[in-house]
Symmetry: C2
Subunit: 143 residues, 2 copies
């Protein structure tokens, strides 16, 4: 499977492993609202929501004009990049995770911008249903 | 895999297929609270919660003294049985689903007992984290 994953997906895999170690539950490619699809969304044990955008290269970042839209859909927002990424092009007031295919580490904590309760409720419901439906497809693919 | 599943798990598979057709998201063997593990829990598109207890035989039902505890953890509670189950031994005021390994159908709708918002919130968070963690194990088993 590994050779089929693109650079961003390999970073996402490393991020998900980090989150697993932190007892965060995470999924990839969730759509919190129309026209936004996040690379990794995680729910902490307390129910806080983190969003991670994976950027594998300078071009990957400069071609993206959507990332600011994600901040309104989480309590903490991070970029995840390879350690050799030119991090000076990233906004310095956002969180930063260094990742590779096998793991990740938080380099700079993100500011906390608390979701309002109604949006949090909607997001967690969306996350719950999406994760369960994907799991069901995995376990019983003949549906 | 099929030969490894027990009778109750085969009923659960049929129930999950029904729920998939209904656009419910479901998982098996969730623990909403200590000492309770439910066979199938589903979240409807609106965020309502259904619990299903699978009973494959008379003995399977008569040996269970826990099912009444589940009613407090859902909006609707159902038994799922094979169509040839002696349904006269079941409480007539609970929902009933007829199931086999391949599908299921609602035989008698369950009464609605609305969860309070705090418990619903806790349950959906628990469901979300459990589903995502199991999905992650499926997709990236080397964690």
């Amino acid at each position: 499977m590994e050779h089929e994953l693109q650079a961003g997906q390999l970073l996402a895999r490393g991020v998900q492993r980090l989150f697993g170690e932190m007892n965060f539950a995470s999924i990839t490619e969730l759509t919190p609202t129309r026209r936004l699809r996040v690379d990794v969304m995680a729910i902490t044990p307390k129910g806080d929501i983190w969003i991670v955008e994976c950027k594998s290269s300078r071009a990957d970042f400069t071609s993206d004009n959507k990332w600011q839209g994600y901040i309104d859909w989480c309590d903490q927002f991070y970029f995840a990049t390879p350690p050799d990424f030119p991090t000076d092009i990233l906004p310095s007031d956002q969180g930063l995770i260094f990742a590779d295919s096998y793991g990740a580490a938080i380099n700079r904590p993100a500011p906390i911008t608390k979701l309002n309760p109604a949006r949090r409720k909607k997001l967690i419901l969306n996350f719950a249903r999406c994760a369960a439906q994907r799991l069901h497809q995995q376990i019983d693919p003949r549906i």
